[in-house]
């Protein structure tokens, strides 16, 4: 519906006379003024997006093919940055750690909040208490969470080993052991972030019409069957979106390894983003950092596109 069409019937004639188009060329001028006004509102946000989102994305691709040191003029080096980064012994470790971290975070960090939300949705008492408590860790600054767990993981008097000793279980090296460091970080990330997933999933659960469960129960569906054939299909879209967002977020994990393990022991917890940070701020090699950024960007971009295509095509079958 156009603007004039909705307006004209109610518009008083006096106003219309005021706004009546002046003779020649007035229409175009009026439109120009409208546009100028629209852009006056838009410009501040637009500049910020251009400078801090779009330009850096383009720049990452450009610098990835340059030898770049701040202060001196950049030099084109072709794919040298990529081959150099590729041959870095930490390159494979960083990718492997990031992928394993993402996978573990998906297994633990997705299953736990999913089950928690299912259970919480059945509880009829203390609803507000559960929601507040589960979201509390999300509100603690991530740096504090990381430092807190670094202390918990202390092999001596850390809470983690003290708990194991209290239960007469063998102690662990936690974040200080090559084998256990990565999973220790996954536990921290899960503890810190599951509140958000739980709340979002709870909201989705509450939108399921009760009649569906009633009908399923009348048909003799057991509890697990009701979860399988009602709950999961009904919340499929939210589950898939939460999964995608979590994968994208965990592929960019930085604070936990940086604060808790410093990438160690023996590169066991170096992640791709950590390696990007090292290239830029320890090696002063911005070309290498951007080459890594582009790889991460392309990988996540392709992954998201394929994921969205697959999940959307699945929707047509329903």
């Amino acid at each position: 519906m156009t603007r004039t069409a909705t307006r004209s019937p109610v518009e008083p004639t006096a106003v219309r006379q005021v706004q009546a188009p002046p003779p020649a060329g007035g229409r175009g001028r009026r439109r120009l003024i409208d546009q100028a006004r629209a852009y006056a509102f838009l410009i501040g946000g637009l500049i910020c997006f251009a400078l801090f989102s779009w330009y850096p994305a383009i720049r990452a691709v450009v610098i990835a093919f340059q030898k770049y040191t701040p202060g001196s003029s950049p030099e084109w080096v072709g794919t040298a940055n990529f081959t150099q980064v590729w041959h870095d012994p930490e390159f494979a470790a960083a990718w492997r750690n990031t992928l394993v971290f993402t996978l573990l975070a998906l297994l633990i960090g997705f299953a736990v909040p999913f089950v928690l939300a299912l259970v919480l949705n059945e509880l009829r008492h203390w609803k507000a208490f559960f929601r507040i408590v589960v979201y509390l860790p999300v509100m603690i600054p991530p740096v504090v969470t990381a430092l807190l767990w670094k202390w918990f993981y202390d092999p001596g008097a850390g809470l983690a080993n003290e708990t194991l000793r209290f239960l007469h279980l063998p102690t662990s090296n936690w974040s200080n052991g090559t084998d256990t460091a990565l999973i220790s970080l996954v536990i921290v990330a899960t503890w810190a972030n599951l509140g958000g997933t739980v709340l979002i999933y709870l909201a989705a659960l509450q939108s399921i019409p009760g009649e569906l469960y009633e009908a399923a129960e009348l048909d003799g569906a057991s509890l697990l069957q009701r979860v399988r054939y009602v709950t999961i299909p009904q919340t499929r879209f939210v589950i898939l979106m939460l999964m995608l967002l979590q994968i994208i977020a965990t592929m960019q994990v930085f604070t936990e390894p940086f604060v808790i393990t410093g990438g160690g022991p023996e590169s066991a917890t170096v992640t791709v983003l950590y390696l990007i940070y090292k290239y830029a701020f320890l090696y002063n090699d911005f070309g290498g950092a951007c080459a890594l950024s582009v790889m991460l960007l392309v990988l996540l971009g392709v992954f998201s596109a394929v994921y969205l295509r697959l999940t959307r095509s699945g929707e047509d079958d329903l």
């Binding site: 509390l136 430092l147 918990f152 003290e162 996540l300």
Partner: protein, 291 residues
Amino acid sequence: MTTRTLLSPATLARPRGKAVYWTVFTGVVVLFALAFLFPVYWMVTGAMKSPDEIAQTPPTIVPKHWHLSGYTDAWDLMQLPEHLWNTVVQAAGAWAFQLVLCTAAAYALSKLKPAFGKLILGGILATLMVPAQALVVPKYLTVADLPLIHTSLLNDPLGIWLPAVANAFNLYLLKRFFDQLPRDVMEAAEIDGAGKLRTLWSIVLPMSRPVLGVVSIFALVAVWQDFLWPLMVFSDTDKQPISVALVQLSQNIQLTVLIAAMVIASIPMVAMFLVFQRHIIAGISAGSTKG
């Protein structure tokens, strides 16, 4: 009772159903207390133990003597007032810039039909798909030497404020909210002679209080919690926000003092959450199911 869930009210009313329900309920309460509240308790009380007591095995559940010196030392030795103030300035500025510029841009995209509006909106939404953290290095280089004007925003709160405006999620929340506002109210205001700015200020914004609240909280939390970006922007120790300062100082400071500082750093956001919990939880739930 509103709607029924997985379990029917009839099942829960049976004696066996009741027994199972209360067992599960108690289990969840204990689990939540141990998993989420106990670590926080451990942190708050750990800061009140003496340095000997905190290193002792097995640990004491309740401090033998309650020392407040951990907190007072942290406040004085780690320059917490300065770093907290830096964080407040950074968060408040980012919030103000976002509220003004994102709201104006969202209003323009929603109601003023700018040329190429669709393309611009597409470009903004595309940044949601791009992993933001992966672009911190080129973003850092941009902030270190802004194109055309060749100014550096490093060690300047503007280096936090301006990039914060490029928040596609908040802008989209606002734009979608404005889209839903009835057209005729705005048109009535225009017929009465109100300009675009006047319409935005006296008609649109008062109607948008809920979404402005959500965006404000998201904006504040994002800056307060951020670590990697302020770590890059502020190499100058005096200007660092509390998150960066904590990590930098954590190496050579007594454990009880560090833990006290961690508690102090957490208080503002946790307090804000407890005050606005109803709105925050409602915002997360609503924003996600619709989005």
